[in-house]
Assembly symmetry: C2
Amino acid sequence: MVKVILIGSGNLAQHLIVAFQETEKSGRPIELVQVFARQKEGLTHLLHSDKIVSDWSQLKEADLYIIAVSDDAIGEVASQLPFTNRLVVHTSGAMDLQTLDSKNRKGVFYPLQSFTKNKKVAFKTIPICLESENEDDYKMMEKVATAISNKIYPIQSQQRKALHVAAVFVNNFTNHLFKIGAEICADNQIPFEILQPLILETVQKITTISPEQAQTGPAIRNDQKTIATHEQFLTNENQLNLYKILTQSIQNNGKKL
Amino acid sequence: MVKVILIGSGNLAQHLIVAFQETEKSGRPIELVQVFARQKEGLTHLLHSDKIVSDWSQLKEADLYIIAVSDDAIGEVASQLPFTNRLVVHTSGAMDLQTLDSKNRKGVFYPLQSFTKNKKVAFKTIPICLESENEDDYKMMEKVATAISNKIYPIQSQQRKALHVAAVFVNNFTNHLFKIGAEICADNQIPFEILQPLILETVQKITTISPEQAQTGPAIRNDQKTIATHEQFLTNENQLNLYKILTQSIQNNGKKL
C-alpha cells in the first residue's frame, strides 16, 4: 500500500482528492492518509474532517507528500515540513525541481490540465508529467500516477518549462482568439454558437493530422485580396494588429526569424 | 419537389453532392437534378455521369442554382449562365451578394465549415448562412438548407463578412497556435499528444461558458514572474513576438485601443 499525503486545498488539490478517493474505492493500492489545509472548512464537503490537519506537527508518515499550492507558496511550504529525507513533490508546470527544500527527496507530479472549480474532470485522460532525482522515487510516483491516470510521461524540468509555455499558446492564447471571435460576432449581431462547429472541427483535425498539415485560410494561401478585405473590415486596432501579426507568422511558417 | 442544380466540382461541391444524395434517400422533397463540372471525371465516383454536364447549354430548369466554385470564379460563372430571372446563389463566406450577375435573382448559401477532401462531415451539424433579395427566395433556400442541416441562420452580406473574419481567428489562427505548441514540443523532445487533452478541454469549456469567462493563465492573472520566465525561455523571435503581443492583448481585454 502506497501512502499519500496531500498539502493544499485549492482547485487542483480538490480534484486530486476526488481522484484518489475513486482509486481507493476501486481497490488500487493507494491510500490518501491525510490532507493538510490551513482552513479545514474548505474541504469538509470532500472528506472526513479527521483526515484534514492544519498543524504541521500532526502530519503522519507517508511514502509521498504532494504539495498542491500556488507557485509562490511551494518553497515556503516545503521548508516548513517537519521531517527530512522523505519524497516531497510539487505539482507546478512552471516551477523548477529546485524550488523544493533539499532536506527532503524532491520530485514533480504535474497534471497537465486547466482545472475549473466544481467542474468534474476525467482524471484518467489527463497526462501526468513526472520528474524525480532517482529511479526508486520515479517508480513510487509512477505507481501513484498510474492509479489515477492512463497517461504518464517522464518530463525533466527544462522540458516541463517548454510544455508550460506551449500550454499557454494552445490553451490561454487560443481561448483569447475565441474571445475575439465572440467579440466580432457580438459587434455584428451574430450568435457566437454559429462558430462552435468550426471550432470543434479545428480541434478534431489535429488529432489525426499535424497542425502544420491542417493549416488553411487566406494567410497560408497567400490570398492577398481576402487579407486586404479582412484588414479593411477590422476597425478595432487591437484586432487588426493581431490579424496582421498572426497572418505574417503563418506566412513565415517554419522560418526561424 | 424543389429542384437543385449544383455548379462546381471542388471540395465543397462534392460534400454538397453527398449531402443532397442522402437527403433524396431519406425521402425529403429535394432533387439534385444536375451538376455542372468542366471535367466530368472528377465527379463520376459520386454520381451517374448522365447527371453531370460540362456545357452551359445542357443545363436544365431548376428552382435553385448553387455556384460552389472558388471566390475568384463566381462572377464569371454567374455571367455565363444562359438564362435570366432564376434563383442563383453562391456559397462563399467572403464574397458579396453583388458578385453575382444581376440578370438572375441573387442569394448566398454559405455552409460555415472548413471542408477537407475525403473527410466525411456530418452536414446536419454545419451552420448554413442564408441571404436573399426577397422573402420567397429565402423560403426556397431555407427549404433546401433544412433538408441537409439542422442549423440555418439568416446572415446579411456585412454580417457574413464579419463571420468570415471571426472564422479566421477561431480556425486558421487557432490552428497556427497549435502549430507553435507542436514546434515548442518538438524542439524539446516532447510528444505533442501530451497537449491534446488540454486543447480539447479548452474547446469544451466555451460550449458552456463564454471565452471571456474561460480565460486563464499568466496574462489574465498579470503574473509578471511567469511571463518573464516564459519570455526568457522563448529564443525563437517569432514565437516571442507572438507571446508578447497576445499577452498584451489579453491584458487589454475589452479596451478598444
